[in-house]
């Protein structure tokens, strides 16, 4: 199941596989640790600024 994690964080896992993975995460402590670690690495790498950030911010501001 661990090998499914990168695909999960890329948003490319099929819904049926997401269900299996989340079930397994709930039952397997090691996999849960792995998930938490990968989740936090995934969140950290979202921090550096990307070229489109400013444009997206402007668009969001205009919409609201």
């Amino acid at each position: 199941m661990e090998e499914k994690l990168p695909k999960y964080f890329s948003g490319e896992l099929e819904q049926s596989d997401i269900s299996k993975l989340l079930n397994e995460v709930g039952n397997d402590e090691l996999l849960q640790k792995e998930f938490v670690g990968m989740q936090n690495v995934h969140a950290l790498i979202q921090l550096p600024q990307l070229p489109n950030d400013e444009q997206e911010g402007r668009r969001g501001f205009q919409l609201s």
Binding site: E3, S10, M38, Q49
Partner: protein, 166 residues
């Protein structure tokens, strides 16, 4: 007939739709109702069958929605756990963006290329496999390696991450 249907499908509007649709179909197909020897039996069998189809469909939709809702709840729980493990003191690191960027830079070349295409440029794993002429398994493996290496590299740079990424 509407009241009969409503006994099973519960909502008045659904019962009304079922009966109306039946009569509309009969009218469109130009079926001569009076030619049926037992009109009463014919209409009620039709309503019964339509109610069964309706209930079958509703049950499937509800079950699927419930399953999605369960998955969403499980996802929220594990996200909650992840965020609880996230130590916000991490942000006291003066230049965390540079640390992360350097960590990505220090990945092996192929691994970094695949990671950047997927996580920074937002390309699907399948697209990356086609573009780089490699198998999707290779992309998956390289992504797993990238996460593992990043975890190790970030742990070395930011001591607080030892707890966060344990």
């Amino acid at each position: 007939m509407k009241r009969f249907a409503q006994e099973y499908v519960i909502r008045e509007e659904d019962a009304e739709n079922i009966v109306q649709d039946l009569f509309l179909d009969l009218w469109e197909q130009n079926i001569e109702l009076l030619s049926h020897s037992n009109l009463f039996a014919y209409l009620f069998t039709s309503v019964k069958n339509r109610c069964i189809d309706f209930l079958r469909h509703k049950t499937t939709v509800r079950n699927t929605a419930q399953k999605l809702q369960d998955d969403y709840t499980k996802a929220l729980q594990i996200k909650f756990q992840s965020l609880e493990a996230f130590d916000e003191q991490l942000f006291s690191e003066p230049d965390i963006e540079t640390v992360i960027q350097n960590a990505i830079e220090s990945l092996p070349e192929r691994c970094r290329e695949i990671f950047v295409l997927n996580k920074i440029e937002g390309k699907k794993q399948k697209t990356i496999a086609q573009e780089l002429n490699i198998s999707i398994n290779t992309v998956e493996n390289q992504m797993a390696i990238a996460y593992k290496k990043l975890k190790e590299i970030l742990k070395d740079h930011i001591p607080l991450l030892i707890f966060l990424l344990a």
